[in-house]
């Protein structure tokens, strides 16, 4: 409230336990090295903190040695790991081989923990405006404020203190955590999650500057978040000048990310912490911006572009490229070489100076020898 996960408990109040066999089925995996498939698992923990009743996980071969010395009862192992290497390190220790160990971790955690959905109903202190439509099972928390003319579909959760402007639409099973704000007219798809402190549909930074005075340009568009979008704590997605700022289906936005007015992103993008996207930029599908990346106004990034942490993208980028750099982005290998070279620049300056001196000497020697001979 703002809500997070709680352990799953059975009727008697004790934490859930699952057998290895049962867990393997639930994460769609194959048991290996298991002598007792009925062994009970009580939780999921990383290698360094796993107890004897925990399931743990190995995402890459480099962690196998650490796994071998972990106390975990069993491990999730991706099928991409070399079976010989796995057997060499883990011998007869129990493991569940899965297609994606990341996904299996998510599935296993979902067996032991639940994100409790608040009970349906409108808290007596919530203020709901005129002409609102509330679907079935909608839960509105203490002091939430919903403006006139909103439509909240079935299963929507609005936690304490969240403010929804007028004429907003929030799709089925979407969840607004405590203390977030939707400006008037914002539109959210289904299963959207907006975290505390996030703000959707703010005014956008648009001014007509004449003789040093910045006149506000009305930002009369709106912000639209597609299905399955998540917006992190304190992030902001501004409304459009006209038309729509649009975040594509399944795009995930981390904390403190700024998305300017008129931006459009494709599906399944990942925008990591403190990234910033300037006005009217366009991102294709599955674009990844690592932490603190900046994208300049009006830039166009094609599908699948991936930008390394802290880079500044000051121009458009073709699809499929993996880039780094500031202020000139380059292919990531070139960027690594260039930035390594930067650290050697003082030495390079000295070498060039020495070359100049040696060449001058050689040149004057050569001239004088020519003179000698002439």
């Amino acid at each position: 409230m703002s809500t997070a996960w709680q352990p799953v408990r059975d009727a008697s109040g004790s934490s859930r336990r699952l057998t290895l066999d049962d867990l393997a089925r639930r994460v769609d995996g194959r048991l290996e090295g298991v002598s007792d498939p009925e062994q009970e698992i009580e939780g999921v923990r990383p290698l360094e903190s796993a107890a004897e009743s925990d399931l743990s996980f190995v995402h890459a071969g480099s962690y196998l040695k650490q796994a071998a010395s972990s106390r975990a009862a069993a491990f999730l192992i991706p099928e991409s790991l070399d079976p010989t290497a796995v057997a060499a390190e883990l011998g007869e220790r129990p493991r569940i081989v899965v297609r994606s160990s990341q996904l299996a971790v998510a599935q296993a955690l979902d067996e032991f923990f639940v994100l409790p959905r608040p009970s349906p109903g409108v808290h007596p202190t919530a203020v709901v405006g005129k002409d609102c439509e509330l679907g079935e099972g909608v839960a509105i928390g203490p002091y939430a404020v919903i403006g006139d003319g909103c439509h909240l579909a079935d299963g929507v959760v609005v936690e304490a203190h969240t403010v929804v402007g007028r004429d907003c639409v929030v799709g089925t099973d979407s969840w607004l955590h405590a203390n977030c704000v939707l400006y008037d007219g914002s539109v959210l798809g289904e299963r959207v999650r907006v975290h505390s402190g996030a703000i959707v549909g703010g005014h956008g930074f648009g001014y007509a500057s004449v003789a040093g005075i910045h006149h506000k340009i009305p930002q009369v568009g709106r912000a639209v978040l597609g299905d399955d979008v998540e917006v992190g704590c304190g992030s902001a997605v501004d409304r459009a000048l006209v038309d729509e700022t649009r975040i594509g289906e399944g795009t995930k936005i981390d904390n403190q990310v700024q998305v300017g007015h008129n931006v459009r992103t494709g599906r399944g993008c990942l925008l990591c912490g403190q990234a910033g996207i300037g006005g009217t930029a366009r991102l294709g599908d599955h674009v990844v911006l690592a932490g603190q990346v900046g994208v300049v106004d009006h830039a166009q990034l094609g599908d699948g572009v991936s930008v390394a942490a802290g880079s500044k993208v000051l121009r458009s980028v073709d699809a499929g490229r993996t880039l780094g750099g500031a202020p000139r982005v380059q292919d990531i290998g070139d960027w690594r070489r260039a930035s390594s070279a930067v650290t050697r620049l003082p030495e390079l300056l000295r070498r060039v100076k020495r070359l100049e001196r040696q060449l001058a000497e050689l040149s004057s020697r050569s001239s004088s020898e020519s003179d000698d001979r002439s």
Copy 2:
């Protein structure tokens, strides 16, 4: 609530329409290529989405070709564009020639949209402290909390859930959107706008560090925003150690901008998204910081300084310069050349290595020839 624009409607509820002739007068422009000045315009849209009844706009000559293929009924054109080029592309298509097309867009949008001001009055759930003075027409929304001893001048709007500390002063027609916070003692001028999630007057990051312990230094000053300042979503302007942090008249602050304690900015600055200004820095008038710019503590930036996106300003800068770079800012042209050169550094290293080898060969050859001759 948090409020954004609504279409202007006439008494019958239908959206506003204006004739070209009327619109031209309202944006102080001159009609060209217009056969029917009574043609009705229903809205304003950018070139790519304009419908047949929309006014659109061209800010630069490079967009004239796109304008020619747009469906818009008419275009706002800046008088600075070459009339021959305009006529070549737009022939007899209707247009309104104006001094600033940006300003005209703002004016035209203001004809079709309105930012509805909440009705005056104090919502029954708002908490207003002792000894507050509320001017005429003040509107205070649901769950707003106003501390003791505040003065809110005529026409001030405080939206839902906003918290105003004690002894704050908010000038005429200023507008605090939902969920923002003024710490005790903050002072806002007239027509100031503070957006959701913004925080004015926070404590400032001041500690006396002795033997690894950081003792909090009381930050007993305040934050003062001049007339016509706008503060974006999630931005923070800290109070001063003593005295005042001051944001000059007409300065506009985008989202997620951090302004440290004791900072002073001049008039009409533009601080773009995620810019950060370290403590006690001074900015002159009309300084522009692009997105993600950092300015170090105590730096002084003269009037009219402009800093490119992502740059880090680690020293003071004379008035009038346009700069880029991190961590060494340079004049923008030099910076572009230097950053382009960085991408060629690995090649440069190879060239220097080759030079060294060739010079060594030449030098040894030259020596041996000298030896031969001697």
Copy 3:
């Protein structure tokens, strides 16, 4: 509310005054150049704004000249300053010599200003959940919302509109300013201060990406802030995937800082404005990240590491180093030389080009001379 300092007043309502002698005792300092130890001081101000009844301060020798021309009644001077230089500039002007002038400023300000603690009690509009334990002297402000099962120890302050999730623990004398959010299960030590807009325990950015779909990985851990931690306006500390995100005792976090899931920091770190720390990174004790620094996921920074503003740390760093750079951090001196060299790169390119031309000429001349002789 959000609370800041108020002047200390005596029973008659007038501001506090203290004699120089008294003040010197309270800041544990030694009077010098004082003819009248009974002279009354009314406040503390920096050199440029100090009035004739103010105490001012000099943190470094370079400010002595400015001190000499200030109107201040007396100065706090660190004992590390050369007494001859001090005497040369300040002659017989009154001063208090102290071990740390920063700490003495803090102590002196604490004599004249107080951060008023709200009266104990639960505001009638606050919503407190079931099974909460509230210690003695707890103050809960208007519209605060406390979830079920929370423990707020003695002297805790929760200001207006702050939302505390279920099962949170807040230690003695901790203070949550207006409009901040603790997600479920967060744990705060003693004397922790969380500022407006800050969010503790958010979900963390964890997805299992399979075939372009990002599946949310439950983040079932929690966030734990040690004693004496301060979290600035709008900052976020995410909860852990499993286990704990931990901020060490006495660590101070400025505004708009992002701390990813599973991060652990040591004691007494300083994380300046807009710094970002990627998931699972580890910071030792007394690490300093200047403004806008980024630390990549999983990096390990040893005790006492210090990183210059705007730098990006993309790998682990040994204890004790002072670094700068992006994307390659270097020792700070090397980094300064390298970044200075970057600005000379275009010139360097020209020099190498010239060397290549000269060498080619010399080489061909040398060859032709060899030919001549053969």
